[in-house]
């Protein structure tokens, strides 16, 4: 089977903005993929092109091998999109909303109804099934959006900032559900501003900046790209003078704890420790900390800005 999402040479220009500039991308079947980037990086435009909500000026995009324009019916059958904005139709109840959304895909049988009830249960909405959409809280409306995106059992699910403005408990329950979808074989594409979420969930991550893909790699490889990592040294006494060659690397000093920012590949931990010993420090403990995805993200988006 081909890629879940395939994008080639995609461009989209609006009046004064070149929102997507020659993006090439392939998301594999069954992958948990992160699409990150600052506001205005082109993520939403890219998602809208995949969903058929925006027409590209150049290039092509396909969902599970189906071109999003030429073969839009099959492409949309294969794709479920959870939009960023909490939008709803105030005329209908939750069950009506799900039945109508499934009906657009021609799914009206008993199995389809059973799946809608399963979605309500999985998203803890069963007691709200007959409630009008207007009466639901923001978090519940967001869960209905997720159910709507899944009524046709799409192979690829795009979640556009699904946890923005959502409380901690609901966020945790949403991730349990989305992990379950992924475990069942769905390809998940996630955009989020909570980078710890992307770090915890995604296998590969693309970082967009200025309409381009600034970085695309596995999470581990991206983390290795970080320019620095942290070395924390605990010493027996705090009085010794720091060797001059280590002074520029010192990030923080509190009592007998020294925190250094070491350049990946350039600085060696044994050499730093040796210098400290030579200067009279008695090292009692050390710990290191890899850069977080957030630091990598900031470095990459700063470099390409």
């Amino acid at each position: 089977m081909g890629p879940a999402i395939e994008v080639q040479g995609l461009h989209k220009r609006f009046a004064h903005v070149h929102a997507v500039r020659g993006v090439d991308l392939a998301v594999h079947q069954g992958e948990f993929f992160g699409l990150l980037g600052p506001n205005g990086a082109g993520k939403s435009t890219l998602i809208n092109i995949l969903a058929g909500l925006t027409r590209p000026d150049e290039g092509r995009a396909a969902i599970c091998g189906h071109d999003v324009i030429a073969d839009y019916r099959e492409a949309r059958r294969a794709l479920g999109v959870v939009p960023q904005e909490v939008v709803f139709d105030p005329f209908f109840t939750v069950r009506e909303v799900l039945a109508i959304q499934a009906g657009y895909f021609g799914l009206k049988g008993p199995k389809d109804k059973a799946w809608q009830e399963e979605l309500l249960a999985a998203l803890m909405l069963q007691d709200k099934g007959d409630a009008n959409m207007r009466t639901l809280s923001g978090g519940m409306k967001r869960r209905v959006l997720i159910a709507q995106a899944l009524v046709h059992r799409p192979r690829v699910v795009i979640l556009d900032e699904p946890t923005a403005g959502v409380d901690v408990e609901l966020r945790a329950s949403l991730w349990v559900f989305i992990r379950r979808l992924h475990a069942e074989g769905h390809t998940i594409v996630l955009t989020t501003h909570y980078l710890e979420e992307a770090e915890a969930l995604c296998e590969r991550i693309a970082i967009m900046q200025g309409g381009c893909i600034a970085a695309l790699d596995t999470k581990e490889a991206l983390l290795r790209r970080a320019l620095s990592k942290t070395l924390r040294v605990t010493t027996a006494e705090a009085a010794a003078t720091l060797p001059p060659r280590l002074a520029p690397k010192l990030r923080k000093r509190t009592a007998n704890i020294l925190e250094f920012a070491l350049q990946q590949g350039a600085d060696s931990i044994p050499e730093v420790l040796e210098s400290l010993r030579a200067a009279g420090f008695v090292v009692t403990d050390i710990s290191t900390e890899q850069a977080s995805l957030e630091e990598v993200f900031l470095e990459l988006t700063k470099k390409t800005a």
Partner: protein, 251 residues
Amino acid sequence: MKGFSTLFYKELLRFYKVSFQTILAPVVTALLYLLVFASTFRGRPDILPGVPYVAFLIPGLMMMSMIQNAFANSSSSLIQSKIAGNLIFILLSPLSALEFFLAFVGASVIRALCVAVGVYVAAVFFVALPVRHPLFLILFGVLGSAALGALGVIAGVWAERFDQLAGFQNFVVVPLSFLSGVFYSLRNLPPFWQTVSRLNPLLYMIDGFRYGFFGTSDVSPGLSLAIVAGFCALVSLWALALVGRGYRLRN
């Protein structure tokens, strides 16, 4: 066409859930027109020979209500969905432009027919209203409502704000429907205004619809039918082209 039937059903459900506003209110408005005009023009000579003025008014009021409600149904549904953002659920589905168009126009026709039946049922308490040519009634009722439903799709797709849509309704649809011979016959107008009136496609809808009741009309019913069908086809093609291109629906 399963997707179409769901969108059609959804659009029916939408106006049914607020039928007090979408069906009952226009029926009451039409009856108020009937009461005011009938009492004001009591004793005046008949406009059509042997047809009392109250009876003459009813088909016009029915068709005017159909015109206005068919337009309001598709246009208000679209603008509300666009502004609330829930149109995205339809746009993300595999529905074709034709299915989209037919569902919105079909629901507009049904709402218009419901209003017309409501006006008729209420009006027959006031005056006997024979039906000479039921087929013409159905043809003009359906084609006229479909044309205005399609015009409502155009307006709903084009408008980005409620006031733009209100402008379209108040400055185009309402004047055209009021100046289409609802309250008078074309023959009573001076020659210049007769010529101007003949440029109004809504005139042929009302005149043809009235022919269905009384078997007499200002314009030949065949010509009216051709003009109404042509107008319906024109606005339908225009609406379909806009929806197909995704004009103001898809960037």
